[in-house]
């Protein structure tokens, strides 16, 4: 049992980087009880209750149910989830990380807050559409196949950035179908409500950032000029990257610095 407690603690750090509470907690609501509203071009999605409440949360779920939701994007009843839940990124999670996230979910205070329905634009309503999207997207991996030339460190960084951190959820341009554009990975995203800057080592992006700049940013949220990040990103740093080990932050920087440089996307 001591081990399980330690796992939940590790899971909490993973959850911080994964932004679970940011999407699954209403403003000043109970952690994980749901209610956060996510505005997208397709409508407003409402983060669900993921606390272990038997009626309104995941109280009756098994580890296998949780695994299927996280890595396959399907509910225990077989419904396809919308990609507002970044499961396509989470689909590459390791077994160990799924275990620890599951331990963390079970450690949350149960809440009987009922889920609210998503408010989708006409034409996107219905689980069928989510299913179609899922079928289409599932054929294409969000994460690039491992590059042979990558060091262990870069590989670890790629996992933290693309899988757990799903940085591309905000920082990658999207195709018409709303999936991340893998050909311009992390070249800046327009997902509302804010533009997230180009992270690639291009003159439009972060070509000038040194290892020290990256470590100050991922550790404290400090930009190279001494100013600080805000808008959604402050939370990613505060609850995510700042709690990682120094080695993990260095791995993220090593991966990000070797990305293919892309210019900012032309505004459409």
């Amino acid at each position: 049992m001591a081990l399980a407690a330690a796992d939940a603690e590790r899971g909490a750090v993973l959850a911080g980087l994964g932004g679970c509470l940011a999407c699954h907690t209403a403003d000043s609501g109970q952690p994980g009880a749901g209610g956060h509203r996510i505005e997208t071009p397709y409508g407003t999605f409402v983060g669900s209750n993921i606390t272990p409440d038997p009626l309104h949360g995941l109280g009756t779920w098994s580890r296998a149910d949780f695994d299927r939701a996280m890595r396959k994007g399907k509910s225990p009843a077989g419904r396809a989830y919308w990609p507002a839940f970044p499961w396509p990124s989470f689909s590459e999670l390791t077994d160990e990380d799924v275990d620890d996230l599951w331990a963390w979910v079970q450690s949350l205070e149960p809440s009987a807050r009922p889920d609210e329905p998503h408010e989708l634009e006409r034409g996107y309503r219905g689980r069928l559409k989510a299913g179609l999207w899922r079928t289409f997207v599932h054929r294409q991996r969000e994460v690039l196949p491992d590059d042979e030339s990558w060091s262990e460190e870069v590989r670890r960084g790629a996992y933290l950035v693309n899988t757990l951190g799903h940085c591309g959820g905000c920082h990658s341009p999207r195709t018409r179908l709303g999936r991340e554009d893998a050909t311009r990975r992390l070249a800046g995203g327009d997902t509302p409500p804010y533009r997230a800057p180009n992270l690639t080592p291009h003159a439009d992006g972060l070509a000038t950032w040194t290892d020290d700049d990256w470590s100050s940013f991922l550790d404290m949220g400090m930009l190279p000029d001494g100013d600080f990040t805000g808008r959604g990103m402050a939370r990613v740093v505060n609850e995510g990257t700042s709690l990682l080990t120094t080695e993990d932050r260095e791995a993220m920087a090593a991966y990000l610095r070797q990305l293919t440089p892309h210019p900012d996307a032309e505004p459409e």
Binding site: Y194, R195, D212, S215, S216, D219, M220, G221, M222, D225, G226, D227, F228, T229, G230, R231, M233, A234, V237, N238, S242
Partner: protein, 152 residues
């Protein structure tokens, strides 16, 4: 001619709050925020152990703390986007004065904790670094509401 003679001595009077031109007020405001950023940059370098100047920490923290108290004064009436193209300040900085003062107070409080940490012997740089992050949240937090998104 008489009018000019009368006016000239008036022009020589040093500028007072309210009658400096908006562009000068904006330039001063932006330079002052630049000073805050320099204090944060240096503090961050010390906290990360990049440089050994732990003896400077308290000075930077005190400067941040004292400037935070002056900060609302950098926003006199008539120096917003209606008067200057250069300012990145949003109209909310004037319409929600209470919110601006609250955000400045958050910086004042976070930097006060930094002063305490910088006085400790031996100095705990990990704690200092975490607190620099907290001070930074007060910077970013105010920008979210009162400053235009940079280049976008």
């Amino acid at each position: 001619m008489r009018a000019l003679v009368v006016l000239l001595p008036l022009l020589a009077v040093p500028a007072q709050a309210g009658d400096i031109d908006p562009e000068t007020a904006v330039a001063y405001r932006q330079a002052s925020f630049g000073a805050l950023a320099k204090h944060m940059k240096t503090t961050g370098m010390i906290a990360k152990g990049q440089v050994p100047h732990t003896g400077d920490l308290e000075t930077h923290a005190v400067a941040l703390n004292m400037l935070a108290k002056q900060l609302p004064g950098w926003f006199p009436e008539g120096t917003g986007p209606e008067a200057s193209e250069k300012t990145a300040a949003l109209p909310a900085a004037w319409s929600d004065r209470e919110g601006l003062e609250k955000a400045a107070k958050a910086l004042e409080d976070a930097s006060a904790k930094l002063i305490e940490l910088s006085k400790q012997e031996p100095i705990d740089l990990t704690a200092v670094k975490a607190q620099v992050g907290q001070v930074g949240r007060s910077c970013g937090g105010c920008h979210d509401t009162f400053k235009k998104d940079d280049d976008h």
